[in-house]
């Protein structure tokens, strides 16, 4: 009988579960022992069970294409990814530190701009930022926290160190998949949850609800919370509905809300208008309020910014928080931590070259074939160049694109991001993965135990985004201290 581990290659990059073809790491010892006790048919059966559960639970995401919008089943790999609690405690601390500094920075940008005055960052970076909203200057959201929900992407390089790749501070998505992945894994491998001390993750909706409640004025005992979705054609609609349902909040679309002359936000109910206190908005700034931002937006609510500025409604994340979700600003986060918190960063950044800096630009252009070049403000893995995987023609084209608008590009060394065993046609093969933990900040700060592990299902691919052939895995933070 062929082993599912046959020819497992641990030489490609750091492997999360395996030291070598036959040697599991300490954290994955029990999992590997268990997997080895199953035969190929057992494993196939569990894979089929997982796929069926995904279909029946209707876990989907929407892909936009010329033939219309297609609801696709969420691609899931049944082999979990494992992290030790010991490592996780440090990462968690680092994530809290990072978001606290980022929020200090955003508050400062819309206030006195001390960071810039102190010479820590050139003023043009903010002036030229697409996500800087002058309408937000002088506003103080509750707890002076602007980014309440953050999804930070972490990757592990060949040195075994976890690096921060980016901070998603606009409308990060994926948390519902993190929760559903666990539900499926419990169904598929219930035996494993008996012998292992796996940290639970299903309190996220309660934590989110508590954080959102903490944004309402103190005088309101039971604030009315809504989740504002762009609607059923949005790729993350499943998640919007899921989170609303889990929190017991109302899921609303722009047309369900109205801002009256008293600058308060109301929703249209069967009992007439009902006041809304907190909006977890899953709509980008641009579409939020046609009175202030894009005039042609039909997704938003006219007057929403008026109501927010008057302090009559809280928006999470606050408009303008995206100013720190910029890959150029990213390069300054370690400095922010030192400046605002007077601490050393716990989680390292990836070395970043800013094309807006003439010296950096010169280096980048000379080393394009080795670097990863990314636009400063895109998400979803679009519009980037992976030097070592690109053709000479693509590299030449990108050279022209960067030179046209250097401020809008950054470059980083190509990381050898870590791999984890993934079930491919009945055998385990290493596939590249990343990790997106979610951090909540309101009155207090919360970090999920683990996060969403995304996996590039195509052999050799480094792109983990679901819109581009990525899948995901359950993520286990395992307490080894009892062993």
């Amino acid at each position: 009988m062929k082993s599912i581990w046959e020819n497992y290659n641990t030489e490609i990059a750091y492997d999360e579960l395996m030291c070598s073809e036959f040697q599991p790491r300490q954290i994955s010892y029990r999992l590997c022992q268990y997997l080895n006790s199953l035969n190929k048919e057992d494993i196939d059966r569990r894979k089929v069970a997982a796929e069926l559960a995904i279909l029946e639970m209707g876990i989907s995401f929407t892909v936009y294409s010329d033939e219309g919008n297609i609801d696709r089943a969420w691609p899931f790999d049944i082999i979990p990814r494992i992290i030790s609690t010991k490592e996780w405690r440090a990462v968690e601390k680092g994530l809290k530190q990072r978001l606290t500094a980022l929020n200090c920075f955003i508050a400062d940008v819309y206030d006195q701009q001390e960071f810039i005055k102190a010479g820590k960052m050139p003023a043009e970076i903010i002036a030229s930022s697409k996500n800087f909203r002058k309408e937000c200057i002088g506003i103080k959201p509750r707890h002076n926290v602007w980014a309440n929900i953050c999804g930070t992407d972490l990757v592990r390089d060949k040195d075994g160190v976890m690096y921060v790749l980016e901070d998603n501070l606009r409308v990060p998505s994926g948390v519902s998949y993190m929760l559903e992945n666990r539900v499926i894994t419990k169904r598929v491998f219930p035996e494993l949850f008996q012998g292992l001390d796996i940290l639970p993750i299903d309190d996220y909706p309660s934590q989110l609800q508590a954080m959102l409640s903490s944004l309402a004025p103190e005088s309101i005992a039971k604030p009315t919370i809504v989740v504002l979705t762009p609607g059923i054609y949005n790729s993350a609609y499943f998640e919007h509905a899921f989170l609303a349902q889990q929190m017991g909040a109302q899921l609303v679309e722009g047309s369900d809300l109205v801002v009256n002359d008293d600058d308060c936000v109301y929703m249209r109910t069967i009992e007439g208008l009902e006041k809304v206190d907190v909006i977890y908005r899953r709509i980008d700034d641009d579409f939020l309020d046609p009175e202030v931002f894009r005039k042609d937006s039909t997704l938003g609510v006219p007057g929403l910014m008026r109501a927010w500025k008057a302090g009559n409604v809280s928006l999470a994340n606050a408009p303008g928080a995206g100013v720190a979700d910029d890959k150029v600003v990213y390069a300054y986060v370690p400095e922010m931590i030192r400046y605002y918190l007077n601490e050393e960063p716990i989680l390292p950044n990836v070395k970043t070259f800013l094309c807006g800096d003439p010296e950096h630009l010169e280096y980048v252009l000379a080393h394009l074939a080795e670097l990863v070049v990314k636009p400063a403000n895109e998400s979803g893995g679009y519009g980037m160049l992976v030097g070592p995987h690109a053709t000479t023609k693509e590299v030449a084209e990108f050279r022209v694109i960067i030179q046209k608008n250097p401020r809008n590009y950054i470059a980083q060394p190509t990381l050898s991001i870590s791999t984890a065993p993934t079930l491919c046609k009945g055998v385990l093969e290493p596939r590249h993965i990343d990790l997106r933990p979610f951090i909540l900040q309101g009155k207090s700060t919360f970090v999920t135990a683990g996060g969403l592990t995304r996996v590039a299902l195509k052999k050799g691919s480094l792109v983990v985004n679901s819109s581009q052939g990525g899948g995901s895995k359950d993520t286990w933070v395992i307490n080894m201290e009892h062993d």
Binding site: L55, E56, A241, F242, A244, Q245, Q250, L251, M267, I270
Partner: protein, 312 residues
């Protein structure tokens, strides 16, 4: 509760009820036709008639045979009234109302949808079709049961109950339309011979046979069946009972305005219908009138509670 959500739940319930009704209708009819001689007026074309879909049907098919009618009523996704279309519409409505319902409700509808979608080709075979219809009936019952057991009987639940009962009353009135055939003076000798079987079939289409026997305690006859299905207030699928349920929902909902009074009038109207010795023409006009009144009731519910894009 959002007006938009109220509307979606109301339609969700109507579509699920319609799915269940079509499944039961086709399944009962299949059984009936096994008992009847070939050529009786009660053929497959009657199912198309009940759904008021003759025009649409004959635009696509030459003859109303078993294959064509079952295809049209069960799986034709270009016909809005087919079982698959109703189920797809129910799924779309529940997909967008998940914040108000228990998880299991969505999973139940989604499972049924996937089941029909994956077995759509198998329905031409009688025994496969019987299995599929049975699964659908079970699934719809499970859906109703789990909402009743898992969900607070709150305003969202009331809109579901409202939609379900309006759809139910409408379907009962359509099935009674079949009865008008039995009252036709011109009906054939064959038909007269099988009359009891046909009346029983009408009861079965509404899951009412056992309850009829317990309630009426006499042999099955036209007058009593009509009376039972129109005016009984205990049988879930009689029009009288649907109206009681509709009134209960409307009376508990906020801002019901003039609707409770309308309902009192409608209930009185139904109870005043004379069901003894009704002729075919009289029954037709009673049913047409009832269907119009249910349509008006729907419009008033929509005006009262649902999202009107122009309304401020």
């Amino acid at each position: 509760m959002l007006s938009r959500s109220a509307e979606r739940l109301y339609w969700l319930a109507r579509y699920i009820e319609r799915t269940e009704n079509i499944a039961r209708l086709v399944s009962v009819h299949m059984n009936l036709l096994m008992d009847l001689p070939v050529g009786v007026e009660m053929g497959w074309q009657q199912l198309v008639r009940i759904n008021a879909a003759e025009l649409e049907f004959y635009a696509k098919y030459q003859s109303a045979n078993e294959r064509n009618v079952t295809h049209f009523l069960l799986t034709d996704n270009s016909y809005m009234g087919s079982l698959f279309s109703s189920l797809s519409a129910a799924r779309e409505n529940i997909r967008t109302s998940r914040d108000l319902l228990p998880d299991e409700a969505w999973e139940q509808v989604n499972e049924m949808y996937l089941f029909v979608k994956n077995n759509i080709e198998s329905i031409h075979n009688r025994s496969n079709r019987a299995v599929l219809l049975k699964e659908i009936l079970k699934g719809c019952q499970r859906f109703t049961g789990l909402l009743s057991g898992y969900m607070s009987h709150n305003n969202p639940y009331r809109f579901i109950r409202l939609g379900k009962n309006i759809e139910r009353a409408d379907m009962t009135s359509r099935i009674l339309d079949l009865a008008s055939l039995l009252l036709a003076e011109s009906r054939s000798e064959d038909m007269r011979q099988y009359e009891t079987i046909l009346w029983v079939n009408i009861l079965k289409s509404l899951n009412a046979q056992l309850m009829y026997r317990q309630h009426v305690r006499s042999s099955v006859n036209g007058d009593d069946v009509l009376n039972f299905l129109l005016q009984n207030t205990d049988l879930p699928r009689s029009i009288g009972c649907c109206l009681v349920n509709i009134a209960a929902c409307i009376n508990s909902l906020p801002n019901s305005d003039g609707l409770p009074a309308e309902l009192v009038k409608l209930e009185a109207h139904v109870q005043a219908i004379e069901t003894k010795g009704t002729t075919q023409v009289q029954l037709r006009s009673i049913l047409d009138d009832l269907q119009n009144k249910l349509g008006e009731l729907h419009n008033k519910i929509a005006d009262n509670w649902f999202l009107r894009s122009s309304a401020e």
